[in-house]
Symmetry: C2
């Protein structure tokens, strides 16, 4: 297995940051064509799986650009992209120990089509199965999130210097003593809207209501979170957990290209990512690191110590409190 | 009742735009203190109604600034602000035909505390009970929305010229033929989390699920919306409907200072605002203009004509399809 020197990694990181900027610029330019005064034609978009799952030509163009840049600079690296991958026969998990780029050229496609600003490009670089570089760029928001393993995570905007993540860090606040109360909870309705009793949609909604309801409600499961947010972008959900803006993100159904960059950024910021699905004993089960291809994700923001516990203890306590309130979701890999 | 000349209105509009910029800058500066490297103290915040309802010192400082600027420039105008108002004995509806400023110095307080970018200042100017000027500035997003009755609505960002709203306008797209299918649906969980059977929280969630579920599901109420979004800011929800990024916003429980500016901006962009609560016969009841103090709002984005109908007909069709799927909410005015 090739070991990457620190010097090589620096070069790859710089390349990835520039690649993210260039790809985000392509997204922005294509979006602006739709409302420029020279009345260029609106982009075509075609339906993929159903009306909720649209793919634009921009998606494919940006992925082709990213793939070409990587192939030219690092021809020995593997590439997994959302668009090329989803046209394949299966969605088997293809990431191994080889240096691999895992890319979503456009996360938040529905937002992009409607010009809601919460869309981005997501570029992850994975070595020995570990997300090692993460770049997320939301050009409509002028927010560029970057991280490289061992070097911290940062947010750059259109002005001012790069800000280390989490933003509030003098000191990093502990998790709330009564978490999930006091937490901003991020979750997504997703694409599986089948009205099946005990199907994923209803399990999700039951979990959302448990997290939202007053303390003492829902037969003791009421979490009274500070707010419930749904952005329509798993990638930006993770970025905002890394930033400290969201305390908890809980989701099933997304794919490794949605989360590879975000997991790197969150872990470098000091966050925790594990599985969304509660184990049989949520109070005592070990809290394992997330499996990248698991499609089930629970993320907790970076946390500092309190007088009672370390930051990690606060995060783990929060994981267990979430697990107590959420249902298991059924997302497997097609063909797996 | 004083009639405002067009010239006077131009002057008030220019004043209001600058006021919004200055107030937004105060919000941004205060937010940045929390993560600047000179380690200034984090702001204090105190609990108001419950853990979800926080008010910061910044709220009060910004409202005092806005109120003072208006009093100095237009001493005859009335002022209603969220912070001063909510300290009063009642929340009676105080807007009459006098020129009145209706201001929320910080909408999205929970977001602001957590540094999630979806917060803003909202400044409405109301004449003869009609929202006549609206300014919404979200400084973390560099998004400034402005409108003046008869002069259109605009979005300014940190670069480029002001963009007329809705953004996509060559032509403005019609409402989807099978709306709410194809629509981005914006809704908020709000602060009333009481776990009462048939209480507001459960009525809201039932409505959300109807809008989200597959067509044919939910005993025919499934709306299969394109996406469900929750930002935690009623003001920005309205701004994004005006922009065309959200197709539908449905909400109960907010107040006139949350929506006065947004309603002006949405109406100037060509959108429709009526009541959230479905009438007895949603198919045929007249679709009346929203009452500003009603606390119940249903907003539909600007829409162009299709081969089958005018833009307004498409909006009204969408209103009726939403009314078919949502529950009535119980939000009255305390003391009313």
């Amino acid at each position: 297995m090739p070991e990457l020197s620190q010097e090589n990694l620096d070069g790859i990181y710089a390349f990835a940051v520039q690649l993210g900027k260039d790809a985000g610029r392509m997204l922005l330019d294509a979006a602006r064509l739709r409302y420029s005064d020279d009345r260029k034609l609106e982009q075509d978009h075609v339906e993929k799986d159903n009306a909720v799952d649209l793919v634009t030509q921009t998606d494919e163009d940006v992925e082709a650009f990213i793939k070409g840049q990587i192939a030219a600079k690092y021809p020995s690296h593997k590439f997994i992209g959302e668009e090329t991958y989803s046209k394949g026969a299966s969605r088997a998990y293809l990431i191994d120990d080889e240096p691999t780029w895992c890319v979503d050229p456009l996360d938040g496609t529905v937002n992009y089509i409607h010009l809601f600003p919460m869309f981005c490009v997501s570029i992850g670089f994975i070595v020995n199965s570990i997300p090692t570089i993460g770049i997320i760029y939301a050009p409509f928001l002028s927010q560029l999130f970057t991280a490289c393993r061992g070097r911290g995570a940062f947010l750059r905007t259109h002005d001012g210097p790069p800000q280390p993540l989490p933003l509030v860090r003098h000191p990093v606040p502990p998790m709330p003593a009564k978490a999930p109360s006091g937490c901003v909870f991020s979750c997504e309705w997703g694409k599986d809207r089948r009205d099946r009793p005990d199907g994923n949609m209803h399990r999700k909604v039951e979990s959302f209501v448990n997290m939202a309801a007053e303390v003492g409600g829902r037969d003791g499961k009421g979490g009274m979170v500070h707010g419930v947010r749904s952005l329509g972008s798993a990638t930006l959900d993770l970025a905002y957990v890394a930033m400290g803006a969201f305390d908890i993100w809980w989701e099933g159904g997304c794919w490794e290209w949605d989360v590879a960059a975000g997991i790197c950024i969150l872990q470098e910021a000091g966050g925790l990512v594990t599985t969304a699905n509660p184990p049989d004993d949520p109070s005592t089960a070990p809290i394992e690191d997330v499996r990248l291809g698991s499609r089930l994700y629970l993320a907790i923001r970076p946390a500092g110590p309190s007088e009672m516990e370390t930051g990690r203890q606060g995060q783990e306590r929060t994981v267990r409190e979430v697990w107590r309130r959420v249902r298991r979701l059924d997302y497997s890999r097609p063909g797996a």
